[in-house]
Protein backbone atom coordinates (compact mmCIF):
# COMPACT_ATOMS: atom_id res chain seq x y z
CA UNK A 1 0.00 0.00 0.00
CA UNK A 2 1.23 3.43 -0.83
CA UNK A 3 1.34 5.62 2.23
CA UNK A 4 2.31 8.86 0.58
CA UNK A 5 1.59 9.68 -3.03
CA UNK A 6 2.59 12.82 -4.85
CA UNK A 7 1.15 13.49 -8.30
CA UNK A 8 2.27 16.19 -10.71
CA UNK A 9 3.29 18.55 -7.93
CA UNK A 10 4.41 22.03 -8.92
CA UNK A 11 5.66 24.99 -6.95
CA UNK A 12 6.20 28.35 -8.60
CA UNK A 13 7.22 31.69 -7.17
CA UNK A 14 6.32 34.19 -9.86
CA UNK A 15 8.22 33.14 -12.94
CA UNK A 16 10.58 30.81 -11.05
CA UNK A 17 9.63 27.13 -10.96
CA UNK A 18 10.96 25.62 -7.75
CA UNK A 19 9.37 22.20 -8.14
CA UNK A 20 8.63 20.88 -11.60
CA UNK A 21 6.19 17.98 -12.02
CA UNK A 22 7.16 15.85 -9.03
CA UNK A 23 5.70 12.31 -9.00
CA UNK A 24 6.56 9.99 -6.16
CA UNK A 25 4.98 7.09 -4.29
CA UNK A 26 6.21 5.98 -0.89
CA UNK A 27 5.23 2.65 0.64
CA UNK A 28 4.19 2.13 4.24
CA UNK A 29 7.24 1.59 6.42
CA UNK A 30 9.63 2.81 3.77
CA UNK A 31 12.57 5.10 4.55
CA UNK A 32 12.95 7.51 1.64
CA UNK A 33 15.71 10.09 1.53
CA UNK A 34 15.45 13.21 -0.61
CA UNK A 35 18.94 14.31 -1.52
CA UNK A 36 20.38 17.00 -3.74
CA UNK A 37 22.49 20.15 -3.75
CA UNK A 38 21.22 23.26 -1.97
CA UNK A 39 18.41 24.95 -3.80
CA UNK A 40 17.26 21.77 -5.54
CA UNK A 41 13.82 22.00 -3.95
CA UNK A 42 14.07 19.08 -1.53
CA UNK A 43 13.21 21.13 1.57
CA UNK A 44 10.39 22.87 -0.28
CA UNK A 45 8.99 19.47 -1.23
CA UNK A 46 9.14 18.35 2.40
CA UNK A 47 7.43 21.53 3.59
CA UNK A 48 4.72 21.02 1.01
CA UNK A 49 4.14 17.46 2.21
CA UNK A 50 3.88 18.90 5.72
CA UNK A 51 1.44 21.55 4.57
CA UNK A 52 3.65 24.46 5.62
CA UNK A 53 3.94 25.63 2.02
CA UNK A 54 1.12 25.55 -0.48
CA UNK A 55 1.37 23.87 -3.88
CA UNK A 56 0.93 25.66 -7.20
CA UNK A 57 -0.51 22.51 -8.70
CA UNK A 58 -0.78 18.78 -8.13
CA UNK A 59 -2.04 16.42 -5.46
CA UNK A 60 -0.66 14.94 -2.26
CA UNK A 61 -2.27 11.86 -0.71
CA UNK A 62 -1.29 10.68 2.77
CA UNK A 63 -2.61 7.31 3.94
CA UNK A 64 -5.08 7.28 1.06
CA UNK A 65 -6.51 10.70 1.89
CA UNK A 66 -6.19 13.79 -0.29
CA UNK A 67 -4.53 16.38 1.97
CA UNK A 68 -4.06 19.32 -0.42
CA UNK A 69 -6.23 21.64 1.62
CA UNK A 70 -5.65 20.24 5.11
CA UNK A 71 -3.71 22.06 7.83
CA UNK A 72 -0.38 20.46 8.82
CA UNK A 73 -1.82 18.98 12.00
CA UNK A 74 -4.68 17.27 10.16
CA UNK A 75 -2.40 15.51 7.66
CA UNK A 76 -1.09 12.82 9.95
CA UNK A 77 2.50 13.98 9.71
CA UNK A 78 5.15 14.92 12.25
CA UNK A 79 8.16 16.96 11.36
CA UNK A 80 11.64 17.13 12.88
CA UNK A 81 13.40 20.38 12.09
CA UNK A 82 17.06 21.07 11.47
CA UNK A 83 17.07 23.66 14.27
CA UNK A 84 15.15 21.22 16.53
CA UNK A 85 12.55 24.00 17.09
CA UNK A 86 11.94 23.01 20.70
CA UNK A 87 9.79 25.38 22.72
CA UNK A 88 12.50 27.11 24.81
CA UNK A 89 10.23 27.94 27.75
CA UNK A 90 8.86 24.43 28.22
CA UNK A 91 10.59 21.43 29.73
CA UNK A 92 11.12 18.24 27.79
CA UNK A 93 7.91 16.62 28.98
CA UNK A 94 5.86 19.71 28.13
CA UNK A 95 7.57 19.98 24.75
CA UNK A 96 6.36 16.50 23.90
CA UNK A 97 2.82 16.83 25.30
CA UNK A 98 2.09 20.42 24.28
CA UNK A 99 0.72 19.55 20.85
CA UNK A 100 -1.22 16.50 22.05
CA UNK A 101 -3.37 18.74 24.23
CA UNK A 102 -4.95 20.21 21.12
CA UNK A 103 -5.48 16.99 19.20
CA UNK A 104 -7.81 15.35 21.68
CA UNK A 105 -5.43 12.89 23.30
CA UNK A 106 -6.49 12.05 26.86
CA UNK A 107 -4.02 13.02 29.64
CA UNK A 108 -3.39 9.40 30.66
CA UNK A 109 -2.67 8.45 27.06
CA UNK A 110 -0.32 11.44 26.70
CA UNK A 111 1.70 10.31 29.71
CA UNK A 112 1.86 6.79 28.35
CA UNK A 113 3.13 7.95 24.98
CA UNK A 114 5.72 10.27 26.51
CA UNK A 115 6.98 7.50 28.79
CA UNK A 116 7.24 5.15 25.83
CA UNK A 117 9.07 7.69 23.65
CA UNK A 118 11.36 8.68 26.52
CA UNK A 119 12.30 5.06 27.08
CA UNK A 120 12.99 4.52 23.41
CA UNK A 121 15.11 7.66 23.12
CA UNK A 122 16.77 7.42 26.57
CA UNK A 123 15.22 10.69 27.70
CA UNK A 124 13.74 9.49 31.02
CA UNK A 125 16.31 11.38 33.09
CA UNK A 126 15.81 14.57 31.11
CA UNK A 127 12.03 14.97 31.17
CA UNK A 128 12.05 17.85 33.65
CA UNK A 129 14.95 19.71 32.01
CA UNK A 130 14.68 22.71 29.73
CA UNK A 131 16.06 22.73 26.17
CA UNK A 132 18.78 25.24 27.12
CA UNK A 133 20.22 22.66 29.55
CA UNK A 134 20.47 19.93 26.90
CA UNK A 135 23.27 19.11 24.48
CA UNK A 136 22.69 19.19 20.74
CA UNK A 137 22.22 15.44 20.52
CA UNK A 138 19.77 15.41 23.41
CA UNK A 139 17.77 18.24 21.85
CA UNK A 140 17.61 16.30 18.63
CA UNK A 141 16.28 13.27 20.50
CA UNK A 142 13.62 15.42 22.17
CA UNK A 143 12.58 16.74 18.76
CA UNK A 144 12.29 13.17 17.50
CA UNK A 145 10.36 12.25 20.66
CA UNK A 146 7.94 15.07 20.01
CA UNK A 147 7.32 13.59 16.57
CA UNK A 148 6.91 10.02 17.87
CA UNK A 149 4.22 10.87 20.42
CA UNK A 150 2.04 12.20 17.64
CA UNK A 151 1.95 8.69 16.14
CA UNK A 152 1.92 10.08 12.60
CA UNK A 153 1.37 8.21 9.35
CA UNK A 154 4.53 9.81 7.95
CA UNK A 155 7.61 11.21 9.69
CA UNK A 156 9.29 14.15 7.99
CA UNK A 157 12.93 14.90 8.81
CA UNK A 158 14.46 18.15 7.55
CA UNK A 159 18.25 17.78 7.70
CA UNK A 160 18.08 16.64 11.32
CA UNK A 161 21.78 15.93 11.69
CA UNK A 162 23.38 18.97 10.12
CA UNK A 163 23.62 20.91 13.39
CA UNK A 164 25.48 18.10 15.15
CA UNK A 165 29.23 17.58 15.25
CA UNK A 166 30.74 14.77 13.22
CA UNK A 167 30.95 12.09 15.92
CA UNK A 168 27.43 12.72 17.16
CA UNK A 169 26.15 12.71 13.61
CA UNK A 170 27.34 9.14 13.11
CA UNK A 171 25.80 7.86 16.36
CA UNK A 172 22.52 9.71 15.83
CA UNK A 173 22.38 8.31 12.31
CA UNK A 174 22.56 4.82 13.73
CA UNK A 175 19.86 5.71 16.24
CA UNK A 176 17.54 6.96 13.53
CA UNK A 177 18.09 3.75 11.56
CA UNK A 178 17.28 1.68 14.67
CA UNK A 179 14.23 3.78 15.36
CA UNK A 180 12.95 3.20 11.87
CA UNK A 181 13.36 -0.55 12.31
CA UNK A 182 11.61 -0.41 15.70
CA UNK A 183 8.68 1.83 14.75
CA UNK A 184 8.27 0.44 11.23
CA UNK A 185 7.52 4.05 10.41
CA UNK A 186 7.22 5.69 7.02
CA UNK A 187 9.94 8.32 6.88
CA UNK A 188 10.75 11.05 4.40
CA UNK A 189 14.17 12.44 5.19
CA UNK A 190 15.85 15.44 3.57
CA UNK A 191 19.60 15.83 3.53
CA UNK A 192 22.35 17.21 1.36
CA UNK A 193 24.78 14.67 2.78
CA UNK A 194 24.97 11.67 0.46
CA UNK A 195 26.56 9.49 3.15
CA UNK A 196 23.41 9.91 5.27
CA UNK A 197 21.31 9.16 2.22
CA UNK A 198 23.25 6.01 1.33
CA UNK A 199 23.34 4.61 4.87
CA UNK A 200 19.75 5.33 5.94
CA UNK A 201 17.58 5.00 2.88
CA UNK A 202 15.54 2.15 1.52
CA UNK A 203 15.21 4.31 -1.53
CA UNK A 204 16.91 7.56 -2.47
CA UNK A 205 15.32 10.35 -4.47
CA UNK A 206 18.01 12.46 -6.13
CA UNK A 207 16.77 15.95 -6.91
CA UNK A 208 18.29 18.73 -8.96
CA UNK A 209 16.86 22.10 -10.01
CA UNK A 210 13.33 21.23 -8.90
CA UNK A 211 13.20 17.89 -10.72
CA UNK A 212 13.65 14.30 -9.68
CA UNK A 213 16.75 12.96 -11.44
CA UNK A 214 16.48 9.37 -10.25
CA UNK A 215 14.71 7.25 -7.66
CA UNK A 216 16.32 4.03 -6.60
CA UNK A 217 17.99 1.85 -4.00
CA UNK A 218 21.30 3.24 -2.72
CA UNK A 219 23.49 0.72 -4.53
CA UNK A 220 21.53 1.04 -7.75
CA UNK A 221 22.27 4.75 -7.73
CA UNK A 222 25.91 4.02 -7.11
CA UNK A 223 26.38 1.30 -9.72
CA UNK A 224 23.78 2.35 -12.26
CA UNK A 225 23.26 6.11 -12.12
CA UNK A 226 20.67 7.22 -14.65
CA UNK A 227 22.60 10.25 -15.79
CA UNK A 228 25.65 12.43 -15.34
CA UNK A 229 24.15 14.40 -12.46
CA UNK A 230 23.41 11.35 -10.33
CA UNK A 231 26.75 9.82 -11.24
CA UNK A 232 28.56 12.96 -10.10
CA UNK A 233 26.45 13.50 -7.00
CA UNK A 234 26.49 10.01 -5.48
CA UNK A 235 29.92 8.85 -4.33
CA UNK A 236 32.74 10.72 -2.67
CA UNK A 237 35.09 11.90 -4.02
CA UNK A 238 32.95 12.49 -7.10
CA UNK A 239 33.19 10.41 -10.25
CA UNK A 240 35.83 11.46 -12.81
CA UNK A 241 34.49 12.38 -16.23
CA UNK A 242 36.35 12.24 -19.53
CA UNK A 243 35.04 13.68 -22.79
CA UNK A 244 35.18 11.04 -25.55
CA UNK A 245 34.19 10.29 -29.14
CA UNK A 246 33.40 7.13 -31.07
CA UNK A 247 36.23 6.88 -33.61
CA UNK A 248 35.18 3.79 -35.50
CA UNK A 249 32.74 0.91 -35.34
CA UNK A 250 33.82 -2.49 -36.61
CA UNK A 251 32.73 -6.04 -35.90
CA UNK A 252 30.34 -5.07 -33.12
CA UNK A 253 33.04 -3.13 -31.29
CA UNK A 254 33.25 0.65 -31.03
CA UNK A 255 36.62 2.34 -30.60
CA UNK A 256 36.43 5.22 -28.12
CA UNK A 257 39.06 7.92 -28.02
CA UNK A 258 39.52 11.12 -26.11
CA UNK A 259 42.05 13.41 -24.58
CA UNK A 260 43.85 12.12 -21.52
CA UNK A 261 43.13 8.41 -21.72
CA UNK A 262 44.18 5.47 -23.84
CA UNK A 263 41.71 4.56 -26.63
CA UNK A 264 39.68 1.47 -25.82
CA UNK A 265 36.89 -0.71 -27.21
CA UNK A 266 33.26 -0.92 -26.15
CA UNK A 267 30.52 -3.26 -27.35
CA UNK A 268 29.03 -1.21 -30.18
CA UNK A 269 25.38 -1.75 -29.23
CA UNK A 270 23.74 1.55 -30.11
CA UNK A 271 26.90 3.52 -30.78
CA UNK A 272 27.66 5.15 -34.12
CA UNK A 273 30.80 6.74 -35.48
CA UNK A 274 31.13 10.34 -34.37
CA UNK A 275 28.92 10.02 -31.24
CA UNK A 276 29.96 12.28 -28.41
CA UNK A 277 30.27 10.40 -25.12
CA UNK A 278 31.26 11.03 -21.56
CA UNK A 279 33.22 8.33 -19.81
CA UNK A 280 32.86 8.13 -16.02
CA UNK A 281 35.18 6.29 -13.65
CA UNK A 282 34.95 6.45 -9.85
CA UNK A 283 38.17 7.29 -7.97
CA UNK A 284 37.89 4.08 -5.93
CA UNK A 285 37.81 1.97 -9.11
CA UNK A 286 41.10 3.32 -10.37
CA UNK A 287 44.25 1.51 -9.35
CA UNK A 288 47.92 1.84 -10.20
CA UNK A 289 49.06 -0.56 -12.85
CA UNK A 290 49.10 -1.03 -16.58
CA UNK A 291 46.58 -3.80 -17.25
CA UNK A 292 42.97 -2.69 -17.51
CA UNK A 293 40.34 -1.90 -20.09
CA UNK A 294 40.55 1.77 -19.23
CA UNK A 295 43.90 3.47 -18.65
CA UNK A 296 44.76 7.07 -17.89
CA UNK A 297 48.03 8.69 -16.99
CA UNK A 298 49.16 11.95 -15.49
CA UNK A 299 51.39 13.75 -13.04
CA UNK A 300 50.47 13.62 -9.35
CA UNK A 301 49.77 17.13 -8.11
CA UNK A 302 48.41 16.61 -4.60
CA UNK A 303 47.91 13.68 -2.24
CA UNK A 304 45.26 13.79 0.53
CA UNK A 305 46.07 11.15 3.15
CA UNK A 306 43.11 9.72 5.06
CA UNK A 307 44.99 6.82 6.65
CA UNK A 308 43.72 3.63 5.10
CA UNK A 309 43.31 5.40 1.77
CA UNK A 310 44.76 8.40 0.00
CA UNK A 311 43.20 10.59 -2.66
CA UNK A 312 45.66 11.44 -5.41
CA UNK A 313 44.79 14.48 -7.52
CA UNK A 314 46.40 13.87 -10.88
CA UNK A 315 46.88 16.28 -13.78
CA UNK A 316 46.03 14.69 -17.13
CA UNK A 317 47.97 15.46 -20.31
CA UNK A 318 45.04 17.62 -21.44
CA UNK A 319 45.55 19.70 -18.30
CA UNK A 320 42.44 18.57 -16.41
CA UNK A 321 42.51 17.06 -12.92
CA UNK A 322 41.14 13.70 -11.90
CA UNK A 323 41.12 11.89 -8.57
CA UNK A 324 42.16 8.34 -7.78
CA UNK A 325 41.75 6.55 -4.47
CA UNK A 326 44.79 4.44 -3.64
CA UNK A 327 45.73 2.39 -0.59
CA UNK A 328 47.30 4.49 2.14
CA UNK A 329 50.80 3.03 1.90
CA UNK A 330 50.81 2.92 -1.87
CA UNK A 331 50.23 6.63 -2.43
CA UNK A 332 52.38 8.03 -5.25
CA UNK A 333 54.75 10.91 -4.58
CA UNK A 334 53.83 14.41 -5.71
CA UNK A 335 55.32 15.11 -9.12
CA UNK A 336 55.47 11.42 -10.04
CA UNK A 337 54.18 10.34 -13.42
CA UNK A 338 51.76 7.45 -12.96
CA UNK A 339 49.31 5.30 -14.89
CA UNK A 340 45.93 4.23 -13.46
CA UNK A 341 43.61 1.59 -14.78
CA UNK A 342 40.02 0.48 -14.27
CA UNK A 343 38.20 -2.73 -15.15
CA UNK A 344 35.68 -2.72 -17.98
CA UNK A 345 32.64 -3.20 -15.68
CA UNK A 346 33.61 -0.11 -13.65
CA UNK A 347 33.54 2.21 -16.64
CA UNK A 348 30.29 4.14 -17.10
CA UNK A 349 29.34 5.56 -20.47
CA UNK A 350 26.98 8.50 -20.96
CA UNK A 351 25.58 9.80 -24.23
CA UNK A 352 25.58 13.37 -25.50
CA UNK A 353 22.39 14.14 -23.52
CA UNK A 354 24.04 12.95 -20.31
CA UNK A 355 22.02 9.71 -20.02
CA UNK A 356 23.79 6.50 -19.13
CA UNK A 357 24.18 3.89 -21.86
CA UNK A 358 24.11 0.37 -20.49
CA UNK A 359 26.87 -1.60 -22.14
Amino acid sequence: MSNLRIDHLYKRYGAATVLDDINLGIETGEFVVLVGPSGCGKSTLLRMIAGLDGASGGDIHIAGKLVNNLAPAARGIAMVFQSYALYPHMNVRKNMTFGLKFTGVAPAEREKRVAEAARMLRLEELLERYPRDLSGGQRQRVAIGRAIVREPAVFLFDEPLSNLDAALRVSTRVEIANLHRLLKATIVYVTHDQVEAMTLADRIVVMNKGRIEQVGKPLDLYYAPANLFVAGFIGSPAMNFFAAKVESVAGGRARVTGAGFRSFDLPAASLNVGDTLTIGVRPEHLSRGTNGAFAVEGIVELVERLGEASFAHIRRPDDKLFVAEVRGREAPAVGEKTTLVAAAQDVQVFDAAGLRISI
Binding site: R47, A50, G51, L52, A71, P72, A73, A74, I77, A78, M79, F81, Q82, S83, Y84, A85, L86, Y87, P88, H89, F98, G99, F102, T103, R146, R150
Partner: protein
Protein backbone atom coordinates in the same frame (compact mmCIF):
# COMPACT_ATOMS: atom_id res chain seq x y z
CA UNK B 1 46.56 49.36 27.22
CA UNK B 2 48.56 52.08 25.52
CA UNK B 3 48.53 55.65 26.77
CA UNK B 4 46.45 56.68 23.79
CA UNK B 5 43.78 54.08 24.55
CA UNK B 6 43.77 55.07 28.19
CA UNK B 7 43.30 58.73 27.30
CA UNK B 8 40.49 57.87 24.94
CA UNK B 9 38.72 55.75 27.54
CA UNK B 10 39.13 58.51 30.13
CA UNK B 11 37.68 60.99 27.65
CA UNK B 12 34.67 58.77 27.03
CA UNK B 13 34.08 58.39 30.73
CA UNK B 14 34.37 62.13 31.25
CA UNK B 15 31.63 62.73 28.71
CA UNK B 16 29.45 60.02 30.27
CA UNK B 17 30.00 61.44 33.75
CA UNK B 18 29.08 64.91 32.60
CA UNK B 19 25.95 63.58 30.97
CA UNK B 20 25.00 61.63 34.09
CA UNK B 21 25.47 64.74 36.26
CA UNK B 22 23.32 66.70 33.84
CA UNK B 23 20.57 64.09 33.98
CA UNK B 24 20.67 63.24 37.68
CA UNK B 25 21.47 66.74 39.02
CA UNK B 26 18.02 68.29 38.76
CA UNK B 27 16.33 65.20 40.19
CA UNK B 28 18.74 65.17 43.10
CA UNK B 29 18.12 68.87 43.65
CA UNK B 30 14.35 68.35 43.73
CA UNK B 31 14.50 65.42 46.13
CA UNK B 32 17.09 67.11 48.36
CA UNK B 33 15.21 70.37 48.66
CA UNK B 34 11.90 68.63 49.28
CA UNK B 35 13.27 67.69 52.70
CA UNK B 36 14.25 71.25 53.61
CA UNK B 37 12.49 74.16 55.23
CA UNK B 38 11.40 77.01 52.98
CA UNK B 39 14.08 79.42 54.12
CA UNK B 40 16.78 76.81 53.54
CA UNK B 41 15.54 76.13 50.01
CA UNK B 42 16.16 79.74 49.10
CA UNK B 43 19.13 80.30 51.42
CA UNK B 44 21.31 77.48 50.13
CA UNK B 45 19.58 75.59 47.28
CA UNK B 46 22.57 73.35 46.60
CA UNK B 47 23.18 72.28 50.22
CA UNK B 48 21.86 68.91 51.37
CA UNK B 49 19.43 68.99 54.30
CA UNK B 50 21.10 68.99 57.74
CA UNK B 51 19.75 68.88 61.29
CA UNK B 52 18.80 72.54 61.34
CA UNK B 53 17.25 72.74 57.87
CA UNK B 54 15.54 69.31 57.73
CA UNK B 55 11.77 69.58 57.48
CA UNK B 56 8.91 67.41 56.28
CA UNK B 57 6.53 70.32 56.03
CA UNK B 58 6.15 69.95 52.26
CA UNK B 59 5.08 66.30 52.47
CA UNK B 60 2.86 67.09 55.41
CA UNK B 61 1.05 69.82 53.50
CA UNK B 62 0.75 67.84 50.31
CA UNK B 63 -0.70 64.78 52.00
CA UNK B 64 -3.05 66.74 54.23
CA UNK B 65 -4.31 69.64 52.22
CA UNK B 66 -4.69 68.43 48.69
CA UNK B 67 -6.21 65.61 46.66
CA UNK B 68 -2.78 64.14 46.04
CA UNK B 69 -3.95 60.59 46.72
CA UNK B 70 -6.72 60.93 44.15
CA UNK B 71 -4.21 62.32 41.65
CA UNK B 72 -1.86 59.50 42.41
CA UNK B 73 -4.45 56.81 41.90
CA UNK B 74 -5.64 58.53 38.71
CA UNK B 75 -2.11 58.52 37.37
CA UNK B 76 -1.69 54.88 38.31
CA UNK B 77 -4.97 53.81 36.73
CA UNK B 78 -4.35 55.73 33.53
CA UNK B 79 -0.75 54.55 33.21
CA UNK B 80 -1.31 50.91 34.03
CA UNK B 81 -4.48 50.44 31.98
CA UNK B 82 -2.90 52.22 29.00
CA UNK B 83 0.23 50.11 29.33
CA UNK B 84 -1.74 46.88 29.51
CA UNK B 85 -3.78 47.79 26.45
CA UNK B 86 -0.76 48.98 24.48
CA UNK B 87 1.10 45.74 25.22
CA UNK B 88 -1.86 43.52 24.41
CA UNK B 89 -2.94 45.25 21.22
CA UNK B 90 0.65 46.01 20.24
CA UNK B 91 1.75 42.39 20.52
CA UNK B 92 -1.33 41.12 18.70
CA UNK B 93 -0.96 43.64 15.89
CA UNK B 94 2.77 43.00 15.59
CA UNK B 95 2.13 39.26 15.35
CA UNK B 96 -0.56 39.70 12.74
CA UNK B 97 1.50 42.10 10.65
CA UNK B 98 4.66 39.99 10.69
CA UNK B 99 3.16 36.51 10.50
CA UNK B 100 0.25 36.84 8.11
CA UNK B 101 0.15 38.32 4.64
CA UNK B 102 -3.31 39.70 4.05
CA UNK B 103 -4.78 42.30 1.76
CA UNK B 104 -3.72 45.72 2.97
CA UNK B 105 -1.20 44.46 5.52
CA UNK B 106 1.63 46.53 4.07
CA UNK B 107 -0.60 49.58 3.95
CA UNK B 108 -1.66 49.02 7.54
CA UNK B 109 1.97 48.71 8.62
CA UNK B 110 2.78 51.98 6.85
CA UNK B 111 -0.18 53.70 8.44
CA UNK B 112 0.97 52.62 11.88
CA UNK B 113 4.53 53.77 11.25
CA UNK B 114 3.18 57.23 10.44
CA UNK B 115 2.05 57.27 14.07
CA UNK B 116 5.70 57.11 15.10
CA UNK B 117 6.64 60.08 12.96
CA UNK B 118 3.72 62.41 13.64
CA UNK B 119 3.38 63.55 17.26
CA UNK B 120 -0.09 62.94 18.62
CA UNK B 121 -0.18 66.43 20.15
CA UNK B 122 -0.70 67.89 16.68
CA UNK B 123 -4.19 66.45 16.87
CA UNK B 124 -5.01 67.99 20.25
CA UNK B 125 -7.86 70.15 19.03
CA UNK B 126 -9.45 67.34 17.06
CA UNK B 127 -9.04 64.98 20.00
CA UNK B 128 -10.66 67.50 22.33
CA UNK B 129 -13.63 67.92 19.97
CA UNK B 130 -13.94 64.19 19.55
CA UNK B 131 -13.90 63.52 23.28
CA UNK B 132 -16.42 66.26 23.93
CA UNK B 133 -18.89 64.96 21.33
CA UNK B 134 -18.40 61.42 22.61
CA UNK B 135 -19.24 62.62 26.10
CA UNK B 136 -15.86 61.51 27.40
CA UNK B 137 -14.80 64.96 28.47
CA UNK B 138 -13.21 65.00 31.92
CA UNK B 139 -12.94 61.20 32.25
CA UNK B 140 -9.97 58.91 32.72
CA UNK B 141 -11.24 56.87 29.75
CA UNK B 142 -10.44 59.80 27.47
CA UNK B 143 -6.86 59.89 28.72
CA UNK B 144 -6.48 56.13 28.37
CA UNK B 145 -7.77 56.17 24.80
CA UNK B 146 -5.34 58.91 23.83
CA UNK B 147 -2.39 57.20 25.49
CA UNK B 148 -3.15 53.87 23.85
CA UNK B 149 -3.17 55.60 20.48
CA UNK B 150 0.08 57.36 21.39
CA UNK B 151 1.87 54.22 22.56
CA UNK B 152 0.69 51.68 19.96
CA UNK B 153 2.79 52.59 16.89
CA UNK B 154 6.14 52.40 18.68
CA UNK B 155 5.20 49.22 20.51
CA UNK B 156 4.10 47.54 17.29
CA UNK B 157 7.36 48.59 15.67
CA UNK B 158 9.55 47.24 18.47
CA UNK B 159 7.57 44.03 18.95
CA UNK B 160 7.53 43.29 15.20
CA UNK B 161 11.31 43.40 15.18
CA UNK B 162 11.40 40.92 18.03
CA UNK B 163 8.83 38.58 16.55
CA UNK B 164 10.86 38.45 13.34
CA UNK B 165 13.81 37.20 15.35
CA UNK B 166 11.88 34.24 16.73
CA UNK B 167 12.88 31.34 14.48
CA UNK B 168 10.30 30.43 11.83
CA UNK B 169 10.76 26.76 12.62
CA UNK B 170 9.23 27.29 16.04
CA UNK B 171 5.93 28.47 14.59
CA UNK B 172 6.04 25.75 11.94
CA UNK B 173 6.70 23.13 14.62
CA UNK B 174 3.72 24.38 16.60
CA UNK B 175 1.57 24.22 13.48
CA UNK B 176 2.66 20.65 12.77
CA UNK B 177 1.89 19.89 16.40
CA UNK B 178 -1.68 21.01 15.88
CA UNK B 179 -1.54 24.08 18.09
CA UNK B 180 -4.26 26.58 17.09
CA UNK B 181 -3.06 30.00 15.88
CA UNK B 182 -4.27 31.90 18.95
CA UNK B 183 -2.50 29.45 21.24
CA UNK B 184 0.69 29.70 19.15
CA UNK B 185 0.61 33.42 19.83
CA UNK B 186 -0.30 33.19 23.50
CA UNK B 187 1.72 30.14 24.56
CA UNK B 188 4.69 30.02 22.20
CA UNK B 189 5.36 33.56 20.96
CA UNK B 190 4.23 35.75 23.87
CA UNK B 191 6.46 34.05 26.51
CA UNK B 192 9.47 34.56 24.24
CA UNK B 193 8.68 38.25 23.90
CA UNK B 194 9.22 38.99 27.59
CA UNK B 195 12.35 41.15 27.23
CA UNK B 196 10.72 43.07 24.40
CA UNK B 197 7.58 43.57 26.44
CA UNK B 198 9.64 45.03 29.31
CA UNK B 199 11.25 47.45 26.89
CA UNK B 200 7.95 48.51 25.44
CA UNK B 201 6.44 48.78 28.94
CA UNK B 202 9.08 51.31 30.03
CA UNK B 203 8.85 53.28 26.81
CA UNK B 204 5.09 53.39 27.22
CA UNK B 205 4.86 54.15 30.93
CA UNK B 206 7.32 57.01 31.27
CA UNK B 207 5.78 59.49 28.82
CA UNK B 208 2.27 58.72 30.07
CA UNK B 209 3.16 59.17 33.71
CA UNK B 210 5.02 62.41 32.99
CA UNK B 211 2.47 63.83 30.57
CA UNK B 212 1.03 67.21 31.44
CA UNK B 213 -0.56 68.18 28.17
CA UNK B 214 -3.47 65.80 27.79
CA UNK B 215 -4.61 65.93 31.45
CA UNK B 216 -4.50 69.69 31.08
CA UNK B 217 -6.81 69.81 28.07
CA UNK B 218 -8.93 66.72 28.70
CA UNK B 219 -9.58 66.86 32.46
CA UNK B 220 -11.10 69.75 34.32
CA UNK B 221 -12.11 68.55 37.77
CA UNK B 222 -10.07 67.47 40.78
CA UNK B 223 -11.39 63.94 40.57
CA UNK B 224 -9.76 63.32 37.19
CA UNK B 225 -6.48 65.23 37.61
CA UNK B 226 -3.23 63.31 37.47
CA UNK B 227 -0.15 63.88 39.63
CA UNK B 228 1.68 66.04 37.10
CA UNK B 229 -1.35 68.29 36.76
CA UNK B 230 -2.11 68.28 40.48
CA UNK B 231 1.33 69.68 41.26
CA UNK B 232 0.49 72.75 39.24
CA UNK B 233 -1.96 73.95 41.86
CA UNK B 234 0.94 74.74 44.18
CA UNK B 235 2.44 77.00 41.54
CA UNK B 236 0.64 80.30 42.00
CA UNK B 237 0.82 83.42 39.94
CA UNK B 238 2.16 85.42 42.89
CA UNK B 239 3.35 82.89 45.44
CA UNK B 240 4.58 79.38 44.88
CA UNK B 241 4.54 76.85 47.69
CA UNK B 242 7.93 75.38 46.90
CA UNK B 243 7.86 72.91 49.79
CA UNK B 244 4.71 71.31 48.44
CA UNK B 245 5.80 71.47 44.82
CA UNK B 246 9.09 69.74 45.51
CA UNK B 247 7.48 67.15 47.81
CA UNK B 248 4.80 66.32 45.26
CA UNK B 249 7.37 66.11 42.46
CA UNK B 250 9.58 63.81 44.51
CA UNK B 251 6.61 61.55 45.07
CA UNK B 252 5.78 61.64 41.37
CA UNK B 253 9.28 60.58 40.40
CA UNK B 254 9.27 57.58 42.71
CA UNK B 255 7.12 55.11 40.72
CA UNK B 256 9.01 55.70 37.49
CA UNK B 257 12.35 55.16 39.19
CA UNK B 258 11.04 51.97 40.75
CA UNK B 259 9.79 50.62 37.43
CA UNK B 260 13.16 51.37 35.88
CA UNK B 261 14.95 49.50 38.63
CA UNK B 262 12.65 46.50 38.37
CA UNK B 263 12.72 46.28 34.57
CA UNK B 264 16.26 47.52 33.93
CA UNK B 265 17.76 44.05 33.47
CA UNK B 266 15.09 43.01 31.02
CA UNK B 267 15.28 46.44 29.43
CA UNK B 268 18.98 46.19 28.65
CA UNK B 269 18.49 42.70 27.25
CA UNK B 270 15.65 44.05 25.15
CA UNK B 271 17.52 47.04 23.79
CA UNK B 272 20.66 45.16 22.83
CA UNK B 273 19.37 41.76 21.80
CA UNK B 274 18.44 42.99 18.37
CA UNK B 275 21.74 44.76 17.82
CA UNK B 276 24.18 41.87 18.03
CA UNK B 277 23.47 38.72 16.12
Amino acid sequence: MTIEQRARSAGVHLVLLAYSALAIGPILLVVMNSFKARSAIFGAPLAPPDASTFSLIGYDKVLRSSNILTYYSNSLIVTLVSMALVLLFGAMAAWALTEYRFRGSTLLGLFLSIGIMVPIRLGSVAILNMMRSAGLNDTLTALILVYVAQGLPMSIFILSEFIQQIPRDLRDAARCDGVPETRIFLEVIAPLLRPAIATVAVFTIVPIWNDLWFPLILTSSDKTHTVTLGVQQFLGQYITDWNSVLAALSMAILPVVMIYIILSRQLIAGLTSGAVK
